[in-house]
Amino acid sequence: MIAAQPADETTRLGGDHLEETTRAPDRESGGREPGRELLRAIVEASGEGMVLCGPDDVVVMLNAAAARLVPEVVPGRPVGSGGAGALFDLGHPEGESRESGHGAQRLRVRRESFGLSHRAWYLRDVTDESARTDALLAERRRTRFLMEAGPRLSASLNTRRCARAAVELAVPFLADAAMVVLPLAGLRQTSWLRATARRRALEEGTVSAAAAAQVPGLAEALAGFPPAPSRWLDPAQVPGWLLPEGFGQAGHLLVTPLPGNGVPAGALVLARHEDGAPFDEETETLVRMFAARAGTAISAATLYQEQSETNAILTGGLLPPELPALAGVRLAGSLRAAQQTGLIGGDFYDLCLPSPGTPGEPLVVLGDVCGKGARAAVLAGQVRQSLRTLLLLESSPERLVPLLNRSLLACPSPRSYVTLVLGALRTGQDGHVRMNLAVAGHPAPLILRGDGTVQEAGARGSLLGALKDTVLTPAVVDLAPGEVCLFYSDGITEAFGGPSGREMYGLQRLKNALSTCAGMPVSAVVERLEQISTDWLAGTTQDDRALLAVQAAGPVG
């Protein structure tokens, strides 16, 4: 064995070969040749492994350190022979180090000129060093992964978006395919999202609880238990729905529960191809940390979704209604709540239609309850509901108002004050709309005539919910085709802003603005007035603002 030769730690020499090759240049340089012993001493003194080659790249001499690192290199043979070709890359520039794997070792190799025509290869074993660097880099990559994952996972309060972020983050860093199986939402079905490397589109689907239970560990993970064998490798057990189409057989699978805030947030399933690396200890630790963050985000989102669904049900009845086209009448409304997230507030409008087959007139109402936000919105909802109930017994606005006042006085919550305008609509054969108006503590509606003049309706009355007796002066408004009656709340007229930022909008400006709307469809009138009001506020939010306009549409049929 060649490797046995340098066991005595002496430098291996190429015998005559050295003399032949080293003498030629030395003669030219005046014969001051380093003796063979001296050369050997120089080579041996090198702290690194050193392989000295002649101009023909045939090994002349190598020191004991080099012999230990590359036992296949022997004097008298080309340096790259014996399987060391990858290490001694003649194409690599002189003086520059490069690293190369060599069996289980990692060597740093550098080539330098030696004398006039020789070359020296310096070798150093950097296996440990590079393992430490690799470990550090891997650690850094894991840290960076978690740092990037954090904000992305916590950005949304939407369950699906959170799950999507989790699978998109996991691929390709953690696995070739990643799936989040969301917790069973009380149903027999559960939904999942999956991202796959080299496939752009996200996949989504649902699976039955029974099918999910076929995946070892998944049922436990979904139920919040630690899945018994967190690592298992029986591809035969993988049900078809778990892996993306064309993925082939999974080589490695990892099922990790997503721990939520006291409730399970689902499970993360990671799959790697057969030729991929198995999930090692470090990856499992990382996946657990990642799953903890994803789980927290998903469960927070789940709670938010539940709350907002409940909220949507509760506030659904407080939102303004759709305004259908009625025979001979066109309606348009706008409600801008000061509370901008849920768009609910103390201003309201409603349309109450007589139930089919019963006589009666459509009733429009616009009102303003004391206060803002959710508390006011609840009272506004009660007023709307009371009105609908009272309509079963009474249809005339002027008689409805005192009844509403009594129901508000009976209301247990303090400061249940309400102002409103009620109008009962009657369409005539001539295309006119006649409206019986009752006003309770509210600004009187404005009437836009065909020629652009604007009048205030003559109805007046006291506010509701404060005094036992109501004072009321009803009025009848007659709208010719195209004419508009506008109900509005004081949030419009009492808005501060304008060019100076300190001026109140006021009734006169509203009248002026309305007078420019003659001939417009009613939806355009309301939109224009709302726009002017919003511009006046110049980005500030003060009070709820409501507009409701009734237009005579012209002869029916």
Partner: protein, 352 residues
């Protein structure tokens, strides 16, 4: 391609009739016209983008030239809204793609172009939530949490809404939803969309649809650096002092521009409004650090005011008053000087 060329000639002549009908607020006429074209095989998307959208642009020009009143302009737009509703009630493809939220910037009331984007996306198979005109930021974000869309398409027609659009799109991105910007407010070339960090920009509804279908938006928006030029606080100061600046400018202008002495209360009010618009556009130009935004507006507004009998020197006088008032605003003063030149040039071209 062939169907477009085929339809183009027909749509062009139909366009004239359509404009006529919406100009007379003839709802039935306009709706019958578009539904007739739909029955003749003109695709719904072509009707929206090659008939209704050009008519709306034409309305804007007619208003600017003082040939149509505000009432007529708004009336016509309301009819176009009905025509759009009539078309999309007929064509309802099943949503097979993802979910998109479409909204106008807070304060933005030019909703029709944004609605056309919503309808074209629906026609292309997206599930669309259209939140309408002037959507308050908090409402939009709540909606995003509740529905978890793949992207937001944010419309902004006026550059003065850009600061608000910026706040909104940053908020959308902060909750992990990428934003596709659109509308003339972002610049004809979309340069403000990029500056403000939108994840994408589309000049028209069909390009927006193509962009989304091609997966042009990132799954997760990349956070952007704040706008460095805002550190001089000129925008902030201008916005905070808007009221005082306008009040001062009205007084100074009355002295600098004698015809104002004979103005009625309403004329004075619209002068204050005009000065307010100038200040708002100046603020927007400071916000995006773009002189062209301001000079383009001044050239346009000079034309609009000329059409209403307000001479160029009134505009110039207003700009000079602000130039005098804004002593500590080097960036704004520079913009105002360029704007005075722009008003002068525009006036010279229009007054002959």
């Amino acid at each position: 391609m062939s169907r477009l060329t085929l339809a183009a000639g027909g749509l062009l002549s139909a366009g004239e009739r359509y404009l006529e009908r919406i100009g007379e607020t003839d709802e039935f006429g306009a709706v019958d016209l578009v539904l007739g074209l739909l029955d003749d095989g003109v695709p719904a998307e072509s009707l929206l983008l090659e008939l209704i959208a050009p008519a709306q642009r034409r309305i804007g020009e007619l208003w600017a030239a003082n040939r149509w009143s505000v009432a007529r302009e708004h009336g016509a737009t309301a009819i176009s809204e009905r025509a759009v509703a009539a078309i999309v009630a007929r064509v309802r493809p099943e949503p097979v793609l993802g979910r998109i939220t479409v909204a106008c910037t807070d304060g933005e009331y030019h909703a029709l172009p944004t609605r056309l984007v919503a309808e074209v996306l629906r026609l292309r198979g997206w599930r669309v939530d259209f939140l309408g005109a002037s959507v308050p930021g908090p409402h939009l974000i709540t909606h995003l949490h509740q529905t978890g869309p793949d992207a937001v398409a944010l419309g902004c027609a006026l550059p003065t809404r850009l600061p608000r659009a910026h706040a909104t799109l940053t908020a959308c991105q902060a909750v992990g939803v990428p934003v596709l910007a659109g509308g003339s407010g972002f610049g004809a070339d979309g340069r403000f969309a990029g500056l403000l960090g939108a994840d994408g920009w589309a000049p028209t509804a069909d390009v927006a649809a193509d962009h989304l279908a091609a997966g042009g938006l990132p799954a997760f928006p990349v956070p952007r650096d704040p706008l460095a030029h805002l550190s001089d606080e000129e925008y902030t100061q201008l916005t905070c002092r808007r009221g005082a600046l306008l009040t001062g400018a009205m007084t100074t202008l009355a002295a600098a521009y004698p015809p104002m002495a004979a103005y009625t209360a309403r004329q004075l009010e619209s002068t204050a409004e005009d000065l307010g618009h100038i200040l708002d556009f100046l603020g927007a130009a400071l916000y995006v650090d773009d002189a062209r935004l301001f000079t383009d507006f001044i050239s346009w507004t000079t034309g609009v005011l000329l059409a209403r009998g307000v001479p160029v020197r009134a505009v110039e006088a207003g700009l000079r008053v602000f130039h005098g008032e804004l002593r500590d605003f080097p960036r704004a003063r520079h913009l105002l000087l360029q704007a005075i030149e722009a008003a002068h040039t525009a006036g010279a071209e229009l007054e002959i």
